[in-house]
Symmetry: C2
Subunit: 227 residues, 2 copies
């Protein structure tokens, strides 16, 4: 008779034993494949709208495996948001590298390039934030939203720690906050913006439009802050 576990066991023990049973899939391990599939699905649908069956199908596994490895939809979502938060916090400092020795507008341009480089390669982060944004602060409290708030706050505090942010404090804060919110919309709802603009959401033209638009809006404010 199978043992009835509560929660789930930690299959990460056992050293190196699960890494050969997959077809031609680059042997990732079931847990990792579920996590990656969940990241993709949660990037397209809010926590409520996403279903464990969709994630299982995306990962090519049977849906009970999700509960075997993660226990619940909530905990899977938490694992996804936690990883994204951690990875983003690791990469963020690189975006600021050498910016302080440049002139403000050039620094902003380079920052936007680095920022867009990363998020066009890892769109899920901004997408997950965007599709769940309307639910944050609402009555229904979902574990994992915590990491979304920390993500927003992390980006904000990093940008505010950005070398020189002089001028009136309130305007500097508006600069940082609005930059993030705008970028989150352009990257998290890119298919909508691209459709409105008549562009391919994954094409170079859209990327260039995002950069030009952010520069056009924030350059005057930046120059005012430094005047």
């Amino acid at each position: 008779m199978a043992v009835a576990r509560k929660g789930h066991s930690k299959p990460a023990a056992m050293g190196e034993s699960r890494r050969r049973q997959r077809k031609g899939d680059g042997d990732e391990g079931t847990r990792e494949r579920i996590l990656k599939a969940a990241t993709r699905v949660f990037a397209q649908h809010s926590f409520r709208a996403a279903s464990t069956r969709m994630i299982a199908a995306e990962a090519g596994v049977d849906h009970p495996l999700i509960h075997y490895y993660f226990g619940s939809k909530e905990k899977l979502f938490e694992a996804v948001t936690e990883r994204i938060y951690r990875e983003t916090m690791e990469i963020m400092p690189a975006w600021l590298h050498d910016l302080s020795r440049m002139r403000p507008v050039e620094g902003l341009s380079l920052f936007i390039d680095r920022f867009l480089d990363y998020y066009f390669d890892h769109p899920e982060a901004q997408q997950i934030i965007f599709v769940n944004m309307a639910q944050i602060g609402q009555l229904e409290e979902i574990p994992g939203y915590r990491y979304i708030l920390m993500h927003i706050e992390g980006l904000r505090s990093m940008l505010e720690g950005m070398a020189p942010l002089p001028g009136r404090r309130e305007e500097a804060e508006s600069f940082v906050y609005c930059f993030h919110i705008l970028a989150d919309s352009f990257l998290g709802a890119k298919s909508a913006h691209a459709q409105i603009l008549g562009m391919d959401p994954d094409g170079e033209a859209y990327r260039q439009w995002v950069k030009d638009t952010l520069l056009a809006v924030f350059t005057p404010l930046l120059e005012e802050l430094f005047s």
Copy 2:
């Protein structure tokens, strides 16, 4: 035996016959109560995440009445978005009244006040746009998204027709588009922003923050456009 209709009949005939059967509810008519309840529910949940049962409960009716009056969830959503689009298009010109004879920054300030006055009283419009934004342009095509796109486009073209929008055309377009996207986030996801800011989403402090923030970001750009 009851007649099996396909679709649904048009209960709007019969002149004046349904307006007395409700308790103390201000006698609205069932159809109108469903439409208003649907507007509230669709403002909090995306089209997919909202359910006809939630709407029926919100309206205080049995859920088959939704299909009796509107035929399907899609058509109900379409009715909601169509009305919001129509009402917004009607009110928009008033936001621009007398703005052209003012100095740009003062005009922007007054415009923001009128804009926020309306959307703090009618938050559903921006909320519905926001919670469905990520799905627009995606594969799944939902009737009613059309009105959302028309809403965005209408606001954009109205603002661009705003008396003088001089300067480089691209920057003027960035101004208008980003203003709308930012405002949509501040109003459509106000509970999230308010939580991040530690404010009450329906309080005067948050409204003031929105105005100050929009002014801080767009005043320098506006002045540059007019220089």
